[in-house]
């Protein structure tokens, strides 16, 4: 075992613990405050109607959910807000029912100033697994900067947690020697 400086180990542990807690707090705050979600549901990637897909999940062909087309800044209740490709998504919107989807009429139909959702769920296959696919996450584009933010956060987290663990084992007296390869 290598020589251990307890004071330095305690400082290292304390410092990286503070950094890790701050990072965790910041990420959790960003998530719960809705900032990350706003970055995720950023703009429309195609022409269509922004909706709260959760509200139409109970729809069936016999009992379709009817969404009223309205022009407003926020999706409140059973409304669908027209958006063009590249438009900033209105608040609470979590998916876009595309014009192409409406034209095909397989899952939703445009009738005057309303959209009738008849099939909100469909079963999709991926890598040999089945999962339920909804209008949620559809037709959206994420803020590209959120990608850089995610990578920066995960790298900072990895580094701080790695050094935190190293500090912890140092304090516990488990400081490990470098392996002499080839000997």
């Amino acid at each position: 075992m290598a020589e251990i400086h307890r004071g330095r180990a305690a400082f290292k542990f304390g410092f990286w613990l503070a950094v890790s807690v701050a990072l965790f707090g910041y990420i959790i705050h960003s998530y719960t405050s809705g900032q990350m979600i706003q970055w995720y549901y950023y703009t429309a990637s195609l022409d269509g109607y922004a909706v709260d897909a959760n509200l139409s999940m109970s729809a069936t062909k016999d009992k379709p959910v009817v969404l009223n087309i309205a022009k407003q800044d926020e999706v409140k209740g059973l409304v669908a807000i027209p958006v063009a490709k590249g438009d900033r998504l209105p608040r609470n919107a979590n998916g876009v029912i595309s014009l192409v989807e409406l034209k095909s009429g397989k899952r939703a139909v445009l009738e005057g100033q309303t959209i009738k959702v008849t099939v909100p769920w469909q079963i999709k296959e991926t890598k040999g697994f089945k999962f339920k696919d909804t209008f949620k996450h559809k037709g959206i584009r994420t803020n590209p900067w959120s990608g850089a933010w995610n990578v920066a956060m995960v790298l900072c987290l990895g580094l701080s947690l790695g050094l935190l663990a190293e500090g912890f084992t140092d304090i516990m007296g488990l400081k490990l020697d470098k392996i002499q390869h080839g000997h």
Binding site: I27, V154, L155
Partner: protein, 353 residues
Amino acid sequence: MFDFAIAGVEAPVFLLALVGLTVGIVGGFIGVGGGYMVTPALIVFGFPGYMASGIDMTHICGKGLVSSVRHRQLGNIDWTLALSMIAGTMLGVELGVRLLVYFKHLGISGVVLLMTSVGLMFVLFLYTQIETRRAHKQMEQMEKEGKEVGREVQTSNLPMLFQRIPLAPIIRCRTARVIVSMWVIVLVGMITGVLAGFLGVGGGFVRVPALVYVVGASTHVAVGTDLVEIVISGAYGALRHSIEGNVDMMAVLFMIVGAMFGAQIGSIATSYVRGPAIRYILSYSLILATLGAALRLVYVLTGQNVQWLSLAAVMLTLGEMLFLCLFISSLVYFAVRRRGGKWVPDWVGPLVI
């Protein structure tokens, strides 16, 4: 249960942390990202396939860094080797992705991908298993004769063949104790990068054997150096997935918490074993992953009608994680016993320090 607003699912936080922990142990020990284990597990928890891939790749980047920090302390990272390989890896990943797009265009990407995975992993398993058994026997013989057994015993002649290539610049990797043409390292990075990009994985299960059997690095250095590559290729993958909107950071966060503990156990465990022990675990990981991929291949080839094949593939993958963790833990347990002068099974003796 936690409501993951971005992924749009409710999933058990404890299980996410547990997956992070187990993959952290395995990844820290054999130097792989563990993507082939995490993605199916996340899908079982209800995450859509694209989210599972994105979360997996982002978590691998963070977990790789946690493990790398520990392997740096253990002296298992050869920075010359890692930096020389990066350019080849990145180029290879891009080529691999383009190859995948080409097969997607032909409409046969799923079958080609699974067949390549099964074929490649099986060949790697066979070679690693045969070579490691030979090394194991050699170590047993040396112990019987009372000779000192080093941390690494390797019986393959391939590294000598590649180290003889006289193509300048010839570089010296001090930690790996290897002198080799830089082009060999770049080529290893590129070929493993192509496979990683094509198969959509971090590529550790190809890169670690390549570093051992082509470059001639010791298994410990191969593991540590590969983890640095995983951080870089993982960061690139995480960026691409994040821009596509395939990442829920809260899920990543919970998995990294588990991975932090797992990566410590896995990384520190390497200091208790000799190189062949790591290669054994790697080869068992390869054969179990091959079986999982083979089951999925049969499922796809039978028109996705035999449902139990898909379920069996998932169960096998989850069972594999548990089996490998138990195997690693038992090796450390026996190493501690041996250090204390207590009895350990004959076959374990030469594998641990």
